[in-house]
Amino acid sequence: MGLKSNLHSLKEKYKGTKLAPAFNALHTFLYLPNETTHNGTHIKAADDLKRTMNTVIIALLPCLVYGMFNAGYQHYLALGEIEATSGFFAATFWTWDNLIVGMWQVLPLVIVSYGVGLAVEFLFAVIKGHEVEEGYLVTGMLVPLIVPIDIPLWMLAVAVIFGVVIGKEIFGGTGMNILNPALTIRAFLFFSYPTWMSGDKVWVHGAVERDQMIATGESLNAISGETILGAYAQNNSIAYDYWDMFWGLIPGSVGETSKFLIIIGALFLIFTKVGSWRIIVSTLIGALTMGLIFNGVVDAGWIGDSNKFYGLMNIPFWQHLIIGSILFGAVYMATDPVTASQTNKGKWIYGFLIGLISIMIRVFNPAYPEGVFLAILLMNVFAPTIDHYVVQGNVKRRMNRLKVKIN
């Protein structure tokens, strides 16, 4: 009796009872389902929803591993125990010490995200009596990558429950949701616990704790992990050069710092045809366009350098792509097939507006230094409208062509 047959007999035993979906899910997650359908037309293809989800997870894994190393690196760097380094293959970056600190912080985030999220999915599957859906597999991996390293686990758990129930289950589960669940979770955290989600303390492991110790009277130096956007917003000088931003040696949310690995992940997603290159490219074009507009405003001398928007507007337009999380959002969030536009023309419009609005929020609203998640959520809401007009426009054009022929 192997594991497979054990599972199979368990599945048979619970067939028709309330808990059946739970056992079915476990079985199909580990093995292929051994039932085949017999009637109707069949299309034979190697990929199913599970395969698609797994492809995205594979594309995310490098970011996760890098995030662990970076968490440790930023921690020790802030403590002054190691020197700042540069380049992707720096010896002081890929060390066991860094990895251990990072794993100790990041793995609990992953476990809480998956544990709570899947528990909610199982609960809904049992109550509603349908199969457990694969939808949470990707969300569960995205969530730890888009939160600050020191976020308390119970906050993450509350947010995951909120995101899965309000963001997905009430619309009918996987494939029916309007908003991206991972971003719903991040938005909930951002508005609920702003002190843990923004500012210059939360991005480096230990900085908040250190602050509390200073508050109780211990003599320590405060750690500052100010993000690049925060520094620009206050017209401060930037401590990192462009290559640091590109390789990812900067403080930030767990998985979004290394632009290099995100680009590799993007190529992988495009190559496997899981992610839409149209959305990725148009998002970046949108961001560059808005950056160019702001640069033009500065060049034309319409605002002086005492203006509160000057610092962010003055960033060379191409740098917007390597600062903050626009690239991560474009590659992993905007391309979510459920919440994005479905039509090809719609995808261009959808992506372009995400890029445009992201940079607009980034520059104009100092309270939300990173507007990417808000921009994507907003466009999620508008995606069906965009599709509607694209389809209607197409219908109209064809009707006109038909009329010309008749005449």
Binding site: I170, F191, S192, Y193, P194
Partner: protein, 215 residues
Amino acid sequence: MGLLSKKDAKLIMDPLSDDNPITIQVLGICSALAITAELEASIVMAVSVMFVLGIGNVVISLMRNIIPSKIRIIVQLIVVATLVIIVDLVLKAFAYELSKTLSVFVGLIITNCIIMGRFEAFALANGPWRSFLDGIGNSFGYGLILILVGFFRELLGSGTLLGYKVLGDPIELTGLYAFGYENNGFMLLSPMALIIVGLIIWVQRSRNPSLIEDE
């Protein structure tokens, strides 16, 4: 209720659950979102609406046979406006701080759809006593949801109830806060009120499937 006939009792009891103005008729949402960040404001709002709707319904019912139907909306507005101004002045005189919290929303009771809705749908066609019961019942239903939403928003958003620190002190770190608990800032924003109202609707309809509309 021995005091009321069965039909009259229904006027009071229906709006509390199966014919609730907010969760079933989806009226008066605006004020339910705007002023429910604190329980106290919710209660005062509920009482104000009860005063306006109870008395307004009686007044309209008494006048129902002499109002020309072409100008009935204007007459109704005058009645509501008069009552709302009374409420506003009373609040300003005896609870100034609270009236500042409620700010424009006391004045906006005039535009609360529940009030005009009940005038139109009930008071114009029924006698004063039944209209009074209907007004009280509907404002009870409205107030119930308001207080429920206000309860959760104040408890989870500020950690207080009616201003009392029931969850401990967030600065002194007592009570729940000693364990790292923090207030949920999202609860103080209006979108969360909408979500709570939505959750109440969800619970109500899953308890009573007959309320679910056919598709």
